[in-house]
């Protein structure tokens, strides 16, 4: 509960440069005195970007930097020219985030209510929210579960609901942190297809290397640095060879 009044949402929309992409400038991040990322400088403008690397290498931290869930302790991250440190709300309207565990990001008891949550927060008018909810229920085969408790959905359906809940907010980009790690093979394929069909730009952190087949660019993170950066054909075999 907050006791301080906040300015109305959407009151200020800082000047952005649409299409500029996500610009990381000499970004570093430390938790306490533990350095998790350092010296990351790159610009993401591609439609499909993958991020791979060993456990604990810093992938999730990297992903969270992209929509201001984590702010860099050094350097800066600009999304379409907006600094994640100072314009975090505007940044989060542009960049959606899907977590590994859908249970942690579904916050309303039933499917339709949860889909409406994001747009409600954005102050979208009720009729438009209803339209988006219908669209998402239809698109992801959840129409029959509209009023069902979210905890009765299957793991795959929960992940689709989590993705749909983010899409209902109409972001231009979506960051996925291991969206398929908890899913079986069939659901992994389903979610992979869903990501593939998105018109939004996406950044996908994953241990499922075959998800990256059609991607434009793949980053390999190693001990908090970007150790390789190129097409999947260049970076994936390099990464696999390095693991052996």
């Amino acid at each position: 509960m907050r006791w301080r009044r906040r300015p109305e949402a959407g009151a200020e929309e800082p000047a952005a440069t649409p299409g500029a992409g996500i610009d990381l400038r000499d970004v570093g991040h430390e938790y306490g005195d533990r350095t998790v990322l350092s010296g990351v400088s790159l610009t993401l403008t591609e439609r499909r970007v993958g991020v791979i690397g060993a456990n604990g290498s810093g992938k999730s931290t990297f992903a969270r930097l992209l929509n201001g869930l984590v702010v860099p302790t050094s350097g800066s991250v600009l999304v379409d020219g907006l600094d994640t440190r100072t314009q975090v709300r505007a940044v989060r309207r542009r960049v959606g985030f899907v977590f590994q565990d859908p249970d942690a990001q579904i916050v309303h008891p039933t499917v339709a209510e949860d889909l409406a949550f994001g747009p409600q927060n954005q102050g979208v008018p009720a009729e438009e929210i209803a339209r988006r909810v219908e669209e998402m229920l239809d698109r992801y085969g959840l129409a029959g579960h509209r009023d069902h408790p979210a905890h009765l959905l299957s793991g795959g359906q929960k992940q689709l609901l989590a993705i749909a809940g983010v899409l209902a907010m109409r972001p231009q980009r979506i960051v996925f942190d291991e969206p398929t790690t908890l899913l079986d093979l069939a659901n992994t394929r389903r979610v992979a297809r869903v990501i593939d069909e998105l018109e939004q730009d996406v950044v996908v952190v994953t241990h499922h290397l075959d998800l990256l087949a059609g991607f434009d660019r793949v980053l390999v993170v190693e001990d908090g640095r970007v150790a390789a950066d190129g097409t999947p054909a260049e970076t994936v075999p390099w990464y696999v060879a390095r693991m052996d």
């Binding site: 509960m1 907050r2 006791w3 301080r4 009044r5 906040r6 109305e8 949402a9 969270r64 929509n67 869930l69 709300r89 989060r92 309207r93 959606g96 985030f97 977590f99 565990d101 249970d103 942690a104 990001q105 579904i106 916050v107 309303h108 008891p109 039933t110 339709a112 209510e113 409406a116 949550f117 994001g118 409600q120 927060n121 954005q122 102050g123 008018p125 009720a126 009729e127 929210i129 209803a130 909810v133 219908e134 509209r146 009023d147 069902h148 408790p149 979210a150 905890h151 009765l152 809940g165 983010v166 907010m169």
Partner: protein, 213 residues
């Protein structure tokens, strides 16, 4: 309260949630002002007629909510037989039954969102003190969402421990559950941020998602 809503299009379903809650409250007060079996019994028959007739609810939807208190009603009846008389005991039991059935009809015909919206509306005068009613509504909704989830995780931990030979319920089982819940809470917090919970206008648009039933 977790998944008691039974979708439908009846007049009762479509009646405003505030009206239904208001009538329930009025009935709660009214029934305790009378001792006449006819009135109290009439209320019970009325509640059943509205629930099973007008709202077309299945028997089960009402029975589910009455079942947990059967034993208490029976004990109450016996207590009255011993301490007072048959008439008082009958009125006491019928009164509680009428209230229970009415409450069951309200919860079975009203979406949680709509009930929460009423709570938010009731809390709206607190805005003067800087309280955001939408926040109260979110807390209620999240409680309803996470109770079954935490129960499920607790059951899984018990299974895991039983699989390793620990059959008796021990306090030690609370530790892994607490760790899991805290870890999840951190992600839930991030997810709320990512989904703009903090972006919510101080005054949330009045109309709720007009999701057709």
């Amino acid at each position: 309260m977790l998944s008691l809503y039974v979708p439908g299009r009846s007049v009762v379903h479509r009646a405003p949630a505030g009206l239904k809650l208001g009538l329930l409250a009025a009935l709660g007060v009214g029934l305790f002002l009378t001792e006449r079996p006819a009135v109290v019994g009439g209320a019970l028959v009325g509640a059943l007629a509205v629930g099973l007739g007008a709202a077309r609810l299945p028997w089960r939807a009402l029975a589910v909510q009455v079942r947990p208190v059967w034993l208490w009603l029976a004990l109450l009846f016996v207590f009255h037989l011993l301490a007072t008389d048959l008439r008082t005991g009958t009125v006491a039991v019928l009164r509680l039954l009428a209230l229970l059935v009415t409450a069951a009809v309200v919860t079975a015909t009203t979406r949680v969102t709509a009930l929460v919206a009423v709570v938010e509306w009731l809390a709206s005068p607190l805005r003067v003190f800087g309280v955001r009613p939408a926040r109260i509504g979110l807390v209620i909704a999240m409680t309803l969402r996470f109770i079954p989830l935490v129960a499920e995780r607790a059951a899984r931990i018990r299974e895991a421990q039983a699989a390793r030979g620990a059959y008796r319920l021990r306090w030690g089982m609370a530790v892994p559950l607490l760790v899991q819940v805290l870890r999840m809470a951190a992600t839930v917090g991030e997810a709320l941020d990512a989904r703009g919970a903090d972006d919510a206008p101080a005054r949330r648009p009045r109309a709720r998602p007009a999701v057709a039933s």
